[in-house]
């Protein structure tokens, strides 16, 4: 099924062969466990840094 980039994502998608191969390779690991609280805290930090950078860029 082809995807029209001008339309919002409302339909299920197929991926490319290359992407499917990447997923296959990723299954071999390694898998690194992430603490959920730390992940959220890190995302908050990244958001703050990115917003600060955006603020400086618009000055």
């Amino acid at each position: 099924m082809t995807h029209n980039k001008n339309e919002p994502l409302t339909e299920e998608l197929q991926c490319s062969d290359e992407f499917a191969a990447m997923l296959l390779e990723a299954e071999n690991g390694p898998w690194i466990e992430i603490d959920g609280d730390e992940l959220v805290a890190e995302l908050d930090r990244m958001i703050a840094v990115a917003e600060a950078a955006d603020g400086k860029a618009t000055q």
């Binding site: 994502l9 998608l13 197929q14 062969d17 466990e33 992430i34 609280d37 958001i47 990115a50």
Partner: protein, 157 residues
């Protein structure tokens, strides 16, 4: 269970780790690609929060499995118009979310017909995976709690 003190509401239960999250090296790499993109970061944060609260509930209206033979175990959830997070959900109590990364439509290659053989191979490999074995066992006794409020609440238990 903590005894209720006068004029102090009973402390809520500490959050149960019903969801465990693991990431591939590619996930961390893709995170770096979007470290300056506020919209993507915020949407991904919402995704993580939502899945931790209710891993079975779809995230928004764009949380679907891939079509095509053999990749139905892989899900993609739209974060912004162009960027999606690819993940799988397995296990129960705890649920396990495997994060493969953040990808654009171009990177996903959506719209290109995928050869059945390769997707079937991917599916076979996925099916052979054993149950999740964490690389690092979470030691709850030494868990660092950064939230002052949560620290206070945990002392009441």
């Amino acid at each position: 269970m903590a005894k209720q003190r006068n004029n102090v509401p009973p402390a809520p239960q500490a959050p149960v780790r019903k969801v465990r999250i693991v990431g591939t090296p590619s996930f961390y790499q893709t995170m770096k690609n979007y470290q300056s993109n506020v919209a993507v970061l915020k949407a991904f944060r919402e995704f993580i929060t939502a899945k931790r609260n209710d891993p079975l509930a779809p995230f928004g209206s764009k949380d679907r499995a891939f079509t095509g033979n053999g990749l139905k175990a892989y899900k993609h959830s739209g974060l912004t118009f162009d960027i999606s997070v690819v993940y799988t959900l397995s296990g129960r109590d705890p649920h396990v979310i495997r994060l493969y990364g953040l990808f654009s439509h171009d990177e996903l290659g959506t719209g290109n017909p995928a050869r059945l053989g390769l997707q079937k191979k991917a599916a076979d490999s996925f099916d052979r995976q054993t149950s999740f074995t964490p690389l690092e066992k979470i030691d709850e006794s030494n868990r660092q709690v950064n939230s002052p409020l949560l620290k206070e609440l945990l002392t009441l238990l």
